[in-house]
C-alpha cells in the first residue's frame, strides 16, 4: 500500500513539473517560416542581400556588428559570395560595398585619426565610439551589438522579427515616457508603469528603440515590395547568417557524418551479432 502510494506520488510530481507562465512574461515570438530551418535548410542568398541592405541603411545607424568584416559578406555562404573569388577580399562587389563606408584609421605620417574609405578587410565600423556615447544618443538605452543577436535571444531570428514588426500602441492604463515604446515581444516588467487592474499587467516590455522600420524605407534592388514585414524578415535572416555564418557548412558536414556513422554503426552491429552468435547471454 505504502509502496503504491509513493509510486503514485512520484508519478504525480513528474507530471506537475510542467512549464510555468507568469502574467508579465513577453508574448511568444511569431511563427515564421525560414529557408534555413531543418537539417537541410539553407540561407536564401537574395534574402541575405536584402537583409544586409536593411542593416546597412537602417540598423547600422545605432547598432554595431563588431564580429563582422566586409570580407565576410563575400565568403562562402555569404550574401555576396561569388565562386569566381574564393578569397572574399578580392570580390569586387564586396570591395565596392566597403568603399562606400568611411572607417577610422591612423594617418601613418602624422598619427592623426582620419577617415578613409573601407576595404574588404575592414571590420564594420561601430556607430558610436563608446558606450556612454551610444547611451547619450539613445535616451539612455544601449543599442546592443547585432553580430550574435539572433543567437543571444530566446527565440532567435523569430524574436528579432517579432520585435521589429510587433510594435503596438500602449494599452490604456500603461504610462510610458517619451523614450519608451511598448512592444509585447520585448521582455520586461511593466508593473511600475501600469495603472490598470493589478492582475492584468500587459505582456511584454518598454523598449528604448522607436519602431525602426517603415514601408518603403529601404528600396530592394530585386524589386521585392518593401513592407515592414519583408524588411523585418530579411534583416532577421541576415542577422541569423551573421550569428552563424557556418550553418550551411555545418549541416552539409553533418549529413556526411550521419551517413557515415549510420553505416559504421550498422557494420559494428553485424560484427557484434556475428562474434556473439554462439554465446548464451
Amino acid at each position: 500500500m505504502l509502496r503504491k502510494g509513493l509510486a503514485l506520488a512520484a508519478l504525480g510530481l513528474a507530471f506537475l513539473a510542467g512549464p510555468a507562465l507568469a502574467a508579465s512574461h513577453p508574448k511568444e515570438p511569431k511563427d515564421v517560416h525560414w529557408s534555413f530551418e531543418g537539417p537541410l535548410g539553407k540561407f536564401d542568398k537574395a534574402q541575405l542581400q536584402r537583409g544586409y541592405k536593411v542593416y546597412r541603411e537602417v540598423c547600422s545607424a545605432c547598432h554595431a556588428m563588431e564580429q563582422m568584416s566586409f570580407r565576410n559578406l563575400g565568403q562562402k555562404g555569404g550574401p555576396f559570395y561569388d565562386p569566381k573569388y574564393p578569397n572574399p577580399n578580392d570580390n569586387p562587389y564586396v570591395k565596392s560595398l566597403a568603399k562606400d563606408i568611411q572607417v577610422k584609421d591612423i594617418d601613418q605620417d602624422t598619427g592623426d585619426v582620419i577617415q578613409r574609405p573601407g576595404t574588404s578587410a575592414d571590420k564594420f565600423p561601430a556607430p558610436f565610439p563608446n558606450e556612454p556615447a551610444a547611451r547619450a544618443s539613445n535616451g539612455g538605452a544601449l543599442p546592443p551589438d547585432l553580430s550574435l543577436i539572433a543567437k543571444a535571444r530566446e527565440g532567435g531570428p523569430a524574436y528579432v522579427y517579432s520585435i521589429l514588426t510587433g510594435y503596438q500602441n500602449p494599452p490604456a492604463g500603461l504610462t510610458l515616457t517619451a523614450s519608451q515604446h511598448y512592444n509585447p515581444y520585448f521582455p520586461g516588467d511593466l508593473t511600475s508603469s501600469w495603472h490598470g487592474a493589478a492582475h492584468h499587467v500587459p505582456q511584454g516590455g518598454a523598449i528604448g528603440m522607436p519602431p525602426p522600420l517603415a514601408p518603403g524605407k529601404v528600396t530592394f534592388d530585386d524589386g521585392k515590395p518593401s513592407t515592414i514585414e519583408q524588411q523585418g524578415k530579411d534583416v532577421a535572416a541576415f542577422l541569423m547568417w551573421a550569428a552563424e555564418p557556418k550553418m550551411e557548412e555545418r549541416k552539409q558536414f553533418g549529413l556526411g557524418a550521419m551517413v557515415y556513422l549510420l553505416i559504421f554503426s550498422g557494420l559494428l552491429w553485424v560484427s557484434y551479432r556475428k562474434i556473439w552468435k554462439n554465446i548464451g547471454h
Binding site: 513539473a17 546592443p144 558536414f253 553533418g254 557484434y272
Partner: protein, 439 residues
C-alpha cells in the same frame, strides 16, 4: 590484472621488452584477455563511452586552447574567432561544448547503473569512490570550462558559484577572495580557471586509470550481481566487449552528432552569446543542465550556508553509500522493493533538475492557488524541490540502510550461467562450448 597472465610474447622484440617493461603484457591482460562476465547488458557500455568522451574532450580542448585567449577583454571575441575564422573551428568548439553535456549524460547513466546493480558494494567500494572522485573533478572542470567563453551566463554563473564559499563561517570571505585572486570575478579568476580547466582533465585521466585498475582486481559486476564462479561465466574482453562497446560508442556518437550538427546551441543558454557585463545581471541565472539538481537542492533551503552544505552533502552521500547499504544482494533485479524506491529516486533527481531550471516561486501548476499552508505556497518549485531533496537524502540515509534489513529479496541465481542455461529459449546450440577459446 587479476589472475594469471596468459600473455605469451610472440616476437623477439616482445620477449626483449617483456623482461624490461611488460607494457604489452599489461595491455593484453587488461583489454584483450581480461575475463568479463558474458551477461553484461548495454548499461555496461557507458564505461567505454565515458572513456571516449574524455578522449574527445581532451583532444578538442587542446586544439581550442591553441586559439583561445584567457583575458576578460579578448576571451569572448577569441571564441567567436574560433567559430568564424579558424578552419573547422565551429566543429571543434561545438563538439567540445556539446561534448561536456554528452559526458554528463553518460556519467549519470553510468552512476544510475552502478546504483541499480549494486556495483558499489564489496569488494568494489574503492572502485565506486574513485568514480565519485572522477565525477567531482568533472563537475569542477565543466564549471570552469563554462566560464571561459566569458559570456553573460559564464560570468554571472562564476559569481554565484564562487560566492557559495563565502557562506562558510569565518573563513568564507577569505576563501572567495583567494579563489577570485582579487575582490571580484575578474581577469585573475578567468586566468586561473583556464589553467585549472586545462589541468583537471589530466587528473581525471589519472583517476580513470586507477578506476580501471580497481575494476580489474575484483572484475566487473554484472546484471545478476552474482560473482563469477567459473570460466564458463566469462568471455575475454576482446573481441566480445570491444565490439559491443564499439557499437554502443558508435550509436552514442550518432546521437552526439545530431546535437553538434543540427542543434548545437540547444543545451546552452542564449545569454552566453552576450559578452560578459558585470554591471548587467541576467534576469534568470541558471547553470548548465547537468548541475540543475544540485542547484535546486541549494535553493531549496532558506539559509545560504545550509543550502551549500546540503548541496555538498548530496555529493558526499554518494561517497559513503557502500557503507549505508545493508543489503547483501547486489542487483535490484532480486530486490523488488528496493527497485521501486530506486525508480522514485530517479524521478526525484529529474524533478530536482526541473526545479533547478525554474524560478523558485513560480507555480508548478499554473493558476492553482489552493495549496496554501499557512504562509507557504506548496504549489511552487521551491516546495517541489524541498520534497524531492528530502527524498534524495532519505534514499541514501534512511531507505537504503533500512531496506537491507527489512526486505525479502527474491532468490538470486546460483551463477551467471545458470539462469541462461536453465532457460531453453535463450540457449542456442553450442552455447556451452567454452567461448573463451575463441578469438
Amino acid at each position: 590484472m587479476s589472475g594469471h597472465s596468459t600473455y605469451e610474447p610472440k616476437t623477439g622484440f616482445e620477449r626483449w621488452l617483456d623482461s624490461r617493461l611488460p607494457i604489452v603484457r599489461m595491455a593484453y591482460d587488461s583489454v584483450v584477455a581480461f575475463p568479463t562476465p558474458k551477461n553484461l547488458n548495454y548499461w555496461w557500455t557507458f564505461g567505454g563511452i565515458l572513456a571516449f568522451c574524455l578522449g574527445m574532450q581532451i583532444v578538442t580542448g587542446i586544439v581550442l586552447a591553441m586559439h583561445y585567449v584567457p583575458h576578460v577583454d579578448y576571451a569572448f571575441n577569441s571564441v567567436e574567432r574560433i567559430m568564424r575564422d579558424v578552419n573547422y573551428g565551429w566543429l571543434i568548439r561545438y563538439v567540445h561544448a556539446n561534448g561536456a553535456s554528452m559526458f554528463f549524460i553518460a556519467v549519470y547513466i553510468h552512476m544510475f547503473r552502478g546504483l541499480y546493480y549494486g556495483s558499489y558494494k564489496a569488494p568494489r567500494e574503492v572502485l565506486w569512490i574513485l568514480g565519485c572522485v572522477i565525477y567531482l573533478l568533472m563537475m569542477a572542470t565543466a564549471f570552469m570550462g563554462y566560464v571561459l567563453p566569458w559570456g553573460q551566463m559564464s560570468f554571472h554563473g562564476a559569481v554565484v558559484i564562487t560566492n557559495l564559499f563565502g557562506a562558510l563561517p569565518v573563513v568564507g570571505p577569505s576563501i572567495t577572495t583567494w579563489l577570485w585572486g582579487g575582490f571580484a570575478v575578474d581577469d585573475p579568476t578567468l586566468n586561473r580557471f583556464f589553467s585549472l580547466h586545462y589541468l583537471l582533465p589530466f587528473m581525471i585521466a589519472g583517476v580513470v586509470g586507477l578506476h580501471i585498475w580497481a575494476l580489474h582486481v575484483p572484475g566487473n559486476n554484472n546484471p545478476t550481481g552474482v560473482n563469477v564462479k567459473s570460466a564458463q561465466d566469462t568471455v575475454p574482453f576482446h573481441p566480445y566487449y570491444t565490439v559491443k562497446d564499439g557499437f554502443a560508442v558508435s550509436v552514442f556518437v550518432l546521437m552526439f552528432a545530431v546535437f553538434v550538427f543540427y542543434m548545437p546551441d540547444a543545451l546552452g543558454h542564449s545569454d552566453n552569446y552576450i559578452k560578459a557585463n558585470p554591471l548587467v545581471t541576467p534576469t534568470h541565472i541558471v547553470p548548465e543542465w547537468y548541475f540543475l539538481p544540485f542547484y535546486a537542492i541549494l535553493r531549496a533551503l532558506p539559509n545560504k550556508l545550509a543550502g551549500v552544505l546540503a548541496m555538498f552533502g548530496a555529493i558526499a552521500s554518494l561517497f559513503v553509500l557502500p557503507w549505508l547499504d545493508t543489503s547483501k544482494v547486489r542487483s535490484m533485479r532480486y530486490r523488488p522493493t528496493a527497485k521501486l524506491y530506486f525508480f522514485i529516486f530517479v524521478l526525484a533527481c529529474i524533478a530536482l533538475g526541473f526545479c533547478g531550471a525554474k524560478l523558485p516561486d513560480d507555480p508548478v501548476i499554473p493558476g492553482v492557488t489552493s495549496f496554501q499552508l499557512m504562509d507557504a505556497d506548496l504549489n511552487s518549485f521551491v516546495w517541489l524541490s524541498r520534497i524531492a531533496a528530502l527524498y534524495y537524502f532519505a534514499y541514501f540515509w534512511v531507505i537504503t540502510p533500512l531496506l537491507g534489513l527489512t526486505e525479502t529479496p527474491l532468490p538470486a541465481p546460483e551463477s551467471i550461467s545458470s539462469p541462461v542455461l536453465s532457460h531453453p529459449a535463450t540457449t542456442p546450440a553450442g552455447a556451452v562450448a567454452s567461448p573463451e577459446k575463441r578469438g
